[in-house]
Structure formats: structure tokens, C-alpha cells
């Protein structure tokens, strides 16, 4: 039932991209997003597509996984395409059917914006597919830690995120178990009216909350008994270090930038 919730979408294989510094991955993903917005015409997506293909190849990600990341987006994609196609501005009509008219500009925009959306998601999913959520949080903490100067609680925020992430699979498992246990007593979670179904959730939610509070209490106790006192003076087990492969990745991103900018200008 809930058994196959994988958190985020981490795809566990060994690759140079998996081993990259998460901070570099986050920054490069931001750079990639900027880059996608700089693309000026549908043709400009060719180097972007090549770059995404190259990265997913280097990360050992099968095409199926990459396409799966687009699935939650399919409705948005269809809307983007259809709205731009039929209600776009412009005067060069391709054809007209009653009040619906398709213009050349509309078609152009429909393709342009759909591709932009596709590559934004595909590009950023390379990061989430190759980085475990906790590592990602680690990277994020390190990136925002300069903000500590203005009293931004970087460590506390990261710790909260890490704990939340850590407990999502646990609670999902727990929810699965409770659902099964209540099903074994004849509970029915899948049929009935909306009202009945909402009511049917009580036997799931009450034990789940009880268990979440119990776990929170236990965790707080365990952290305290190991003298957790917040981020002050705390060292890390896995120190983040950017290396050669991160440099290579950064250079390749710079290359993509150059190509995209040149194409926007001259093509």
C-alpha cells in the first residue's frame, strides 16, 4: 500500500555524479535553471538536451527514471501546451476553427514553454536522483551558514529538515502497518463516500499520531543523553569537500552557458 514510498527519488547506484559535493550540485542546479531561462528559441534546447543526456549518462540514470520525474507534471505540461497553442497572441494564423485559432507565434510559444518546463524538471531531478535527501540537507546547511551572521538558524533548520526526512519513511512504514492491522479487523479505506472515507481514516490517524509523539519523545531523550546542544562547535562526521569531479562539472556547466548564450545571440 504505502510500502513503495521512496523519499525524494534517490536512485542508489554508484557514479561520479553521486559522489559529487552536494553544495556544488545545488549551485550547479541553480545555474542550470538560470541557463534554461536564457534559452531564446526552441532550437536553443538542443545543447540543453545534450547536456541533460550527458549528465544522466554520467550519473548512471536510465532514461525511464528521468521520464518518470516528469509524470507528476503531465497535467501542467498539457495545460501549458494547450493554453499557449490556442490562446497565444500573434497574427500569423495557421488555421481557425470557430473562435479557436492557432497562430504561428502560439505554436512557437507552446513548444518553447513546454520544453522549458521539461528541462527544468529533468535537470533538477538529476540532483534529487543522485543525492540522498540527508546529504542534500547537509549541503544546504553549509550553503546558508554564512547567514548565521544575521542570526539565521542554519543548523537548527537543517537539523529539523534532517529529522523530518529521516522519519518520513519510518512513519510511512508505521502507517502501512497500522493500515494493515486495521484492515485485518475489517476496516475499509478504499470504498464509500468521501465522508465515510474521511471517517475511516480515524483508526489510522490516531495511532499514527500517538506513535509520532512517542518517537519524538524518545528521540529528544536520546539526543539529550548524548549531550546535543545545537550547532555551536559541532563537527561533522562527513566533511563536505569539493574535488576534481566537482571542478569538471562546474566547467561543463560553464560550457553549456557559453553555448546557450552564443546561440541566443547569433542563431
Amino acid at each position: 500500500m504505502l510500502g513503495d514510498i521512496t523519499l525524494g527519488q534517490y536512485y542508489p547506484v554508484q557514479s561520479p555524479v553521486h559522489r559529487m559535493d552536494p553544495r556544488v550540485k545545488i549551485l550547479l542546479t541553480v545555474a542550470f535553471i538560470v541557463c534554461v531561462f536564457l534559452v531564446g528559441s526552441p532550437l536553443g534546447y538542443v545543447p540543453v538536451a545534450l547536456y541533460v543526456a550527458l549528465c544522466s549518462r554520467a550519473a548512471g540514470l536510465p532514461l525511464k527514471m528521468m521520464l518518470r520525474s516528469l509524470r507528476p507534471l503531465r497535467i501542467l505540461l498539457i495545460f501549458t501546451f494547450v493554453l499557449n497553442l490556442f490562446f497565444g497572441a500573434g497574427s500569423t494564423e495557421i488555421f481557425r476553427l470557430g473562435f479557436v485559432r492557432v497562430t504561428q507565434e502560439g505554436l512557437y510559444n507552446a513548444i518553447h514553454f513546454s520544453l522549458r518546463l521539461i528541462f527544468l524538471v529533468m535537470g533538477s531531478s538529476i540532483m534529487t536522483l543522485t543525492t540522498p535527501p540527508v546529504t542534500l540537507t547537509d549541503g544546504l546547511e553549509s550553503l546558508v551558514s554564512p547567514l548565521k551572521a544575521i542570526r539565521f538558524p542554519a543548523h537548527e533548520m537543517a537539523m529539523m529538515m534532517t529529522i523530518a526526512l529521516r522519519f518520513i519513511p519510518t512513519l510511512a512504514e508505521e502507517a502501512d502497518k497500522i493500515m494493515k492491522a486495521q484492515s485485518a479487523r475489517g476496516a475499509d479505506f478504499t470504498s464509500g463516500t468521501l465522508r465515510q472515507r474521511a471517517k475511516a481514516l480515524i483508526p489510522l490517524l490516531v495511532p499514527l499520531f500517538v506513535s509520532a509523539f512517542r518517537r519524538a519523545g524518545d528521540l529528544a531523550m536520546a539526543m539529550e543523553s548524548r549531550c546535543y546542544r545545537g550547532g555551536e562547535g559541532r563537527t561533522k562526521l562527513h566533511v563536505l569537500r569539493a574535488g576534481r569531479r566537482d571542478l569538471i562539472a562546474a566547467l561543463s556547466m560553464a560550457g553549456l552557458f557559453a553555448v546557450v548564450l552564443l546561440m541566443a545571440r547569433y542563431v
Partner: protein, 287 residues
């Protein structure tokens, strides 16, 4: 109402990188009036097997037959199946949710569509069977009870459906010795009353004192089955699988090494009796 597992296999998350085979070609029959103990190391597939018995998990291949009828067949009434095969999960007290003990135990019967009078009768009966005083705790919140009592409320919640087969996943895990003895006594009484029982256990002493038959799982395969005597005499094989033998067996071996030979037995009470006989005999010899 026998349950027959026919070359049952189960693979979790088939086709994903997390794929894991939990059960492999298991053939096992649970006869009427059996008290079958399912033992095996952590991760050997015991819980997975248990969840196939009432159709919560569907086999990847193979069949589960209840009275000769495939329970995963479309024509099978799934809810009726859940009521016939009562499954008590590990730490079942974690599934309690109602405001009162009475309502929580009545959850199953209410789902069966019974009327209030019948529900109440079944709640009383189930509480009686599990040694819970109705007048004292029926109107209490289940969250106010002790751990052992909560466990028994959860068990009563399944018994109130009057299942013909009861499946228990580690019923005594985490209980103190007294609560554990109470619970084992409940299970023994239920079995005597005609309910078939399947019990997953890590405690070889529980198994020795209750089971009529023992099945051993290792890495998803059924590697042994037989009477407790047959299984526990294979000490070395069990040891290789990381499984223990009952304390009585260990003690009997120690006594044997000390030169005291006693007949085979697996329960401490029996061992105590035969040791008493031995000592009496010894005294007579000396006298």
C-alpha cells in the same frame, strides 16, 4: 478449515532497484487444531508469510488455499476472509485508537455489520477470553492501561471477530515475564477451545511450551517442519541458522555433561519433574 500454502513466493518491489525476495517456494499446510509455531531469524520471511494468510499481501507466485479455495481468487469475499483468519500484528497495542476499550474491541465486530447487542456480547466474550475485567476497564481509555493490558485489548479486538484461525506475530515481544505468562495461557486456552493458531516467535521456550508443530524459515525458504521434539533435536542445524533451543534442552545437556542422564524434554516443568524423579531414585539407591 485448513490453510494450505502452495509454492508461495513473494518479492517486494519487484522490478525496482530495491527488489527483495522475502519468500521462496513455500509449501506448508496448517491443519485444524494445529498450534503451529513459525520460527526463523530476523528477516527470514515469517511476518511476510503471516500476512499472506488473510490476504493482506498477495503472492508474487503460488497460491494460498483456505478450505481448498484460493483466497486471492476474485470470487473470494475478502472481508469475510479477514474475519475468518484473525491476524494480530507485532506490537498490536500500537493500533489502538478508540476512546474506550469497549469501542476498540468492538471495532472488528462493527465492521462485520453486527448489531449493538451482538457486538457487546462479543466484546464481553473476548475480554473474558483474554482475562480482562469488563466492569473495571471497558469504559476506560485504552491509553490508560499497562503495556500488558493494552496488548490483551488488541488481542481481544481480533478475537471479538471469532476467527477460526488466529495468526499471532510475536505475541509476547516486549512484555514482562508475568504479562507474557498470562498471554501464553490465553493462547493455550484458545487453542484448546478449538481455534487453530499460527504463532511467530523468537522465544524457543514459548514454542516448546505451546506448539504442536514447528516450521522453520531461513532466508525465505521453509527448511524444516515437524513436532517440537523433532525440530529441537536438530540443535546444530538450528545453531547454524542463528536459532536457539529451549532452556530445558540446554539444561538437560549440561546435566548430561555432569553425569545425570534424563529423558528428552523441552519444557522446564517436565525437566524439573524428571530431575525430581531422578533425585528421588538416587536417594533410594543411596539409602
Amino acid at each position: 478449515m485448513p490453510i494450505k500454502l502452495d509454492s508461495l513466493s513473494h518479492t517486494y518491489q519487484e522490478g525496482s532497484p530495491f527488489q527483495a525476495t522475502a519468500l521462496h517456494d513455500v509449501d506448508l499446510t496448517i491443519e485444524d487444531h494445529d498450534l503451529l509455531a513459525l520460527i526463523g531469524h530476523t528477516g527470514s520471511g515469517k511476518s511476510t508469510l503471516a500476512q499472506h494468510l488473510n490476504g493482506l499481501l498477495k503472492p508474487t507466485s503460488g497460491r494460498v488455499l483456505l478450505d481448498g479455495q484460493d483466497i486471492n481468487d476474485k470470487s473470494t469475499d475478502r472481508r469475510a476472509l479477514r474475519f475468518a483468519v484473525g491476524l494480530v500484528f507485532q506490537y498490536p497495542e500500537h493500533q489502538l485508537f478508540e476512546e474506550t476499550v469497549r469501542k476498540d474491541i468492538g471495532f472488528g465486530p462493527r465492521n462485520m455489520g453486527l448489531e449493538e447487542g451482538e457486538i457487546d456480547a462479543r466484546v464481553r466474550e473476548a475480554m473474558d477470553k483474554t482475562g480482562l475485567p469488563y466492569d473495571e476497564i471497558a469504559e476506560k481509555s485504552p491509553f490508560e492501561l499497562s503495556g500488558g493490558q493494552m496488548r490483551r485489548v488488541a488481542l481481544a479486538g481480533v478475537l471479538a471477530m471469532r476467527p477460526r484461525i488466529l495468526v499471532l506475530d510475536e505475541p509476547t515481544a516486549g512484555l514482562d515475564p508475568r504479562a507474557r505468562d498470562f498471554l501464553l495461557e490465553d493462547i493455550r486456552r484458545l487453542h484448546k477451545g478449538g481455534t487453530s493458531v499460527v504463532m511467530i516467535s523468537h522465544s524457543m521456550d514459548d514454542v516448546a511450551s505451546l506448539a504442536t508443530r514447528v516450521a522453520v524459515l531461513e532466508k525465505g525458504r521453509l527448511v524444516m517442519q515437524g513436532s517440537p521434539g523433532e525440530i529441537f533435536s536438530r540443535v546444530e542445524e538450528l545453531g547454524r541458522m542463528g536459532l536457539d533451543v529451549p532452556q530445558a534442552s540446554k539444561l538437560r545437556h549440561l546435566l548430561f555433561d555432569a553425569g545425570i542422564e534424563l529423558p528428552e524434554c523441552y519444557r522446564l516443568e517436565e525437566l524439573a519433574d524428571s530431575l525430581a524423579d531422578y533425585l528421588k531414585g538416587g536417594a533410594e539407591h543411596a539409602g
